[in-house]
Amino acid sequence: MNPAASCSHCLLPVGRLGQQREVNGEPHAFCCYGCCLAYQVHHGEREEPQAALLLIRIGAGAFLAMNIMLFTLLMYSGTFGAADDAAVHLVHWVLWILASALMAVLGGPFIAGAWRAALAGQVTSDTLVSVGSLAAYGYSAWQVWSGSGAVYFDTVTMVLLLFTLGRYLEALGRVRAARSLAPMLAAERAEVRVMGESGEALRPVCEVGPGALVRILPGERIAVDGVVLEGRSECDESVLTGQAQPQAKAPGLHVHAGSLNGAGQLLVRASAAGGATRWVQMSRRVREALARKSLLGQTVDRLAAVFVPAVLLLAAGVLWYWSARAPFDEALLTALAVLVVACPCSLGLAAPLSTTLGIGLAAQRGILLRSGGVLEKLARIKAIALDKTGTLTEGRPQVLQVAAHGATESEVLAHAASLASASGHPLARAIAAAGRAASAGVAREVQAIPGAGLTGRACGRPAALGSAAFMTAQSWQMPADWPASPEGCTLVYAGWEGRVRGRIALSDRLLPDAAALVRALRERGLPLLLLSGDREAAVARAATALGIAAWRSELMPEDKVGALRDWTRRHGPTAMVGDGLNDGPVLAAAEVGIAVGGAADLARESADVVLPERASRQLPWVLHLAAHVRASIRANLAWALGYNVVALTLAACGLLQPIFAAGLMAGSSLVVVGRSLNARRGVEATAPPAAAAVESVAAG
């Protein structure tokens, strides 16, 4: 089975010990027995016999268990007097029969799990339960057979029942942790109402091609990118943009896959293949993030892998030690208590639950995290480097002035726009937009030199567009007498046939949230560095306006990496926030690379965190989330380790009854689950206002 397949219940990757089951006639993969159980309980509405099978297992197990407990209680309370030896013996036989059925009904799945793990050369918590319950059952059966009195079927019963219930509750917890991820992970499995010649049909989203007519019902999640043909509605695009305000949709406007339709019905013509939308890409990325183990998670896994065999050894040691000093049945019960009180689940659950929760909460605001490990790294960073363009400024500079030298202004604009329309750089886009009127067409043979400029054939001539340094490097002839440019503008030069013939002045405004962002980051005590490939004057102006003391300007991508390394040496691990093609290398070089949406594809590939377009204001919240997740994991790990040490010691000393031990074990898992889920409340309480609004919309 493919370990990267996601569990039908909790949506997490199933891992190597996943199980394949058929539910309602469809194949499903589950990561654990608990998830399988919980899925059946919640999705068994259809009248398929398999649906309720596992629930029947619990119910029938409970029936048997209650009978066993009832007879045991009666026996312990002395209902059968000392004279009733025959009656007591009869009750023992009844208990044996009931317990045998119970072993099959409730013990079966654990033994099967232990067997699967054993075949894979592993020992898991299933192994602990199986070994423990089989030993107690076998010993009691032998006692009944030999006519002796010490039977412990009630212990076996309660251990199995508590473990089954514990598994079920754990799975419920997992689902709650992953619930916020559901809209993300649903992307590839979504179904679309396609209007065809033969009427309307439900089709998987990946089979929908551009041009298909799709009907979207009120309240439905839109699964395709497209243009509205009919109908009016308001769409919640927070998953994509992090913005809570619903966007009005009317005929002619674009809808985006992943957004949630409001009260109106829409008829949409798909503009891209269903499998190629940003939503599907984000979904794939979230899935990958979940599959990647965090550093702490890997450490914990290694610990858990040693932990279970160690517990088995400890139990064997306890049995050997006590059997020499106490009756054998007491030694056996002590060893059983050791086996069942150990809780590798709480160790194993601590990290994944919290990181899943973190990834999910971020995804709800349109923020993508590459892995759970990113959250750990983010919690550790000591400084932040920011790119100016697109991060602190609009990232959409406007052309303010075109100066020509030996050509007309429209000629300059036509050549420049022709080259620029081949690039995704913000400056290039602004120039392309400004030159659209000149309708020059797209240049051919375009080559981009990141952070410097473009060359190619525009209007049939070899042309170039870029910074003064770039033009000089190309050894193009540069006129010296340009008219004065507006203050703080970015200057881009355009030329053709070996000579610079025009200068375009562009200016970029600060984002409205930039000042607040800088203030929030400074309040967290993080030293800030502004890095830009832009001109010194423009960068200085922005840095002064925002109150950032450290800034570097006119940097090539490699220089940015160097500046970042310097900053890291001085202040410790640094996160780089950037945007645009020329930030790719520096994002990759940073401890954590944070790309602000709309970033060119290379930047996204090398980024660990992707924020939605113009949403750099969410950065402090992400840092807060990371700190919260790390604190939650640490507290849970400390709790789980402390619990195991104390409980194992008590059990090994013979101070714990196995039934209490099993109860403690189930309780400790629940505590970890509960604590992890509670962490969510802590994060949401401090969510930024926009994100808080998303929550209330979702809750409503």
């Binding site: 309980v41 309720a52 029947i56 619990i58 409970a62 009832l70 209902t79």
Partner: protein, 245 residues
């Protein structure tokens, strides 16, 4: 013996209260395709599961009582009896209509989840399903069960505890079986097309509000009576003339 009879009667009258929740399960548990005997077996299995849960709870409550009081006699036992009696009076008076809130108590989030899960068991075929349904059904929150569990705590042992709850469970048997029968009748009626008439008359028979209210009050009366007896055991002098009970 009289006490157990009273409990059964309280169960019988009180089971009209069950019609609302548990009755729904019994009603849709339906018919077995293999015939009338199999159908009866299905409903008996369901009720067996339910009563087993009650008995288990009774045994546990009885054992808990002994653990708390340390024996069948003595001051601790008398205090326990008085406490249980008061608790029973509280539940009984609710059924009588003096406090309306708790008798109408809807299941909490846990109970709702349990009820939701049970709904899926109802339609599953096989012997296991009705058994599991019954066994889990017994755990649904119910003030009637609480009242008798209070009595079981004061009953002075596991066996008397089991007997209290068994008597109660047997008392609820007829109504629950009848609900199953009505369910079948309704379905047959539906097959013949006489849905409206049949369901109306069946509904009138077992679920008429005034009938239900009256029988619930009768149950409340029994519980109050039993509560008074239990309370008396704790409060009155040892030699009071309650040996017959």
């Amino acid at each position: 013996m009289l006490e157990y009879l009273l409990i059964s009667l309280a169960g019988l009258a009180g089971s009209m209260h069950c019609v609302g929740m548990c009755g729904g399960f019994a009603c849709i548990l339906g018919r077995d395709r293999r015939g009338r005997a199999a159908t009866l077996a299905r409903h008996l299995t369901y009720n067996l599961g339910r009563v087993t849960t009650y008995c288990f709870l009774g045994a546990a409550a009885g054992a808990l009582g002994v653990m708390m009081s340390g024996g069948v006699t003595g001051l601790a036992q008398r205090t326990l009896a008085a406490g249980s009696g008061l608790l029973m009076l509280y539940f009984g008076l609710q059924f009588l209509g003096l406090w309306r809130d708790a008798a109408r108590s809807v299941p909490g989030p846990g109970g709702e989840a349990l009820a939701g899960a049970l709904r899926q068991l109802v339609r599953a075929p096989g012997v296991g399903a009705p058994l599991a349904l019954g066994a889990l059904n017994g755990f649904l929150p119910c003030p009637l069960v609480y009242a008798f569990l209070a009595q079981a705590v004061a009953s002075g042992g596991s066996l008397p505890g089991v007997l209290v709850m068994a008597a109660f469970g047997l008392g609820t048997f007829p109504a629950m079986l009848a609900m199953g029968g009505v369910g079948l009748w309704l379905r047959r009626g539906a097959e013949r097309g006489g849905v409206v008439v049949v369901s109306a008359s069946a509904g009138a028979l077992l679920a008429r509000p005034d009938w239900r209210q009256m029988s619930v009050r009768i149950a409340g009366g029994f519980i109050v009576l039993l509560g008074v007896i239990t309370l008396a055991r704790g409060v009155l002098p040892m030699d009071a003339h309650l040996h017959g009970l």
